[in-house]
């Protein structure tokens, strides 16, 4: 079995934003018992020993952890390439200067190019603070990725979004169509764009890629509901990536908490043992678990049967072919959602995710 390359360290699910496209779990109350600084130090050292090379410090909002500098330092000292994935709210100059020495790369989200729209999606005034923080990241000589999650309510603005990324001097811009997990799954019908919207956006993205070739990487995450084949989710189940949730659960991907699989926790076992032996990791590793049409498909090593969490959400069985695939016997579930998105003329309301769980 290969070593994992990347660790997604979800430090907390608390967040100052309330984006309805958030893929954090809806049962946030189960994750309030967060790992301590020392527990994260151990996890990051164990990850490096296991062969992990990159560590994404994410959330929620990782800046809400007061010990973020200590955690990032532990990752850096273990030789990991550390990537801060942030809304940038809370990235003061003092904090940024402390983090500069131990964080290799910063990814800042923004919700749209226009203040009122961005703030509306984020559920809080944040646009101007984000732009300011992006300037600070550049000033400190940090590589900057601007991340924008695309959906029905902002995808028509993709040209303006690209212009904004260019203006702030981003090294990379990630235009990520919404993936329907967690809160986004709950809001799917309000977020799923029409085919017409997507096609227009793709023309803009292709032209921007050509124009910006020497200056800025334009990464476009395709919307899998409109694809013929499923995405090669995580590069295969427990093949290249792992996630540690705020309370120390270890998962092959951040959405896998939704599946009925036995828990594995860094509080109970070393990371290496979990990666190599835990049932949650072994469940869909490789190709032996596959049903037809995947089992006999030429693409089984290309897309690994797609996403287990999506299969579970749509069919109730995580071991089925991802219904996004046009060869899936359940594909009608996806075509129905797509058809509804294309016939819908009304605007549906979004259910915002809460900033935090109310203390009980």
């Amino acid at each position: 079995m290969d070593s994992p390359f990347g660790l997604l360290a979800e430090l907390t699910y608390r967040c100052p934003l309330a984006c309805a496209y958030c893929s954090n779990p809806v049962n946030m109350a189960d994750y309030t018992d967060e790992l301590s600084t020392d527990e994260w130090r151990r996890v990051l050292a164990e990850a490096a020993d296991l062969g992990v090379l990159q560590c994404h410090l994410s959330g929620g909002e990782p800046l809400l952890r007061r010990d973020l500098v200590d955690i990032a330092t532990a990752g850096h000292d273990a030789g990991l390439y550390t990537n801060l994935v942030t809304s940038a709210l809370g990235l003061s100059r003092a904090r940024a200067e402390q983090l500069r020495a131990v964080v290799d790369h910063v990814q800042v989200s923004i919700q749209a190019d226009e203040p009122a729209i961005s703030d509306g999606i984020a559920g809080t005034p944040s646009f101007h603070r984000k732009i300011e923080a992006m300037g600070l990241v550049k000033e400190l000589g940090w590589p900057l990725t601007v991340n924008v999650v695309l959906h029905r309510k902002n995808i028509d603005r993709v040209a303006d979004v690209l212009r904004l990324a260019e203006e702030v001097g981003a090294d990379r811009v990630e235009l990520a169509n919404t993936q329907y997990y967690g809160w986004a799954w709950r809001n799917r019908d309000a977020l799923l764009p029409s085919r017409e919207q997507l096609e227009a956006a793709e023309v803009v993205v292709r032209a921007a890629r050509e124009r910006l070739r020497d200056r800025m990487d334009v990464i476009y995450v395709i919307p899998d509901y409109y694809s013929r084949y499923p995405k090669p989710c995580m590069g295969g189940w427990a093949a290249r990536q792992l996630t540690v949730t705020p309370n120390g659960d270890v998962l092959p991907c951040p959405a896998a908490q939704s599946l009925p699989l036995p828990r594995a926790s860094v509080r109970d076992d070393p990371l290496e043992k979990i990666w190599t032996q835990a049932p949650v990791m072994a469940a869909f590793r490789g190709t032996d678990w596959m049903p037809d049409p995947c089992r006999s498909c030429d693409r089984r090593e290309l897309d690994f049967g797609g996403c287990r969490c999506q299969a579970f959400q749509l069919t109730g069985d995580a071991a089925r072919t991802d219904p996004v695939c046009h060869l899936s016997p359940d594909h009608a579930l996806v075509t129905a959602a797509v058809q509804a998105a294309n016939e819908r003329r009304t605007t549906e309301a979004l259910a915002p995710r809460p900033h935090r769980v109310r203390q009980r």
Partner: protein
């Protein structure tokens, strides 16, 4: 010298565009290191890892923004008997196309 290679996805062979006077350096977001677990040199990037094989790491260690491509090839020639300059240039072009390597030209100075 063993041909420089990168792990999957491989750098596509391309026309050699790099001039001997260009001064390559790693892009700001890229880090060259050695992975103990895999016993390979690697390039670390925000979302990907490039596993280096052959002499790739030897070349990249010399890409400091000051040496020209010509000087790098000459330096490698002091270590290895056979240094195919075109392969070095093609390797650097491939990484430049993936934005792992940047070039500054002529007398332009770099501040790393």
């Amino acid at each position: 010298m063993t041909a420089p290679q990168v792990g999957a996805p491989r750098a596509e062979p391309s026309d050699v565009a790099t001039s001997d006077l260009a001064r390559p350096r790693l892009a700001r977001h890229v880090r060259l290191s050695f992975c103990r677990t895999r016993q390979r040199h690697i390039l670390q990037l925000p979302e990907t890892v490039v596993v280096l094989r052959g002499s790739g790491a030897d070349i990249l260690e010399l890409c400091d923004g000051r040496r020209t491509v010509g000087e790098i090839v000459a330096e490698l020639a002091t270590r290895y008997r056979d240094v195919p300059g075109d392969e070095v240039r093609r390797f650097l072009d491939g990484l430049a196309a993936r934005r792992c390597v940047e070039f500054s030209r002529g007398g332009e100075t770099t501040d790393g």
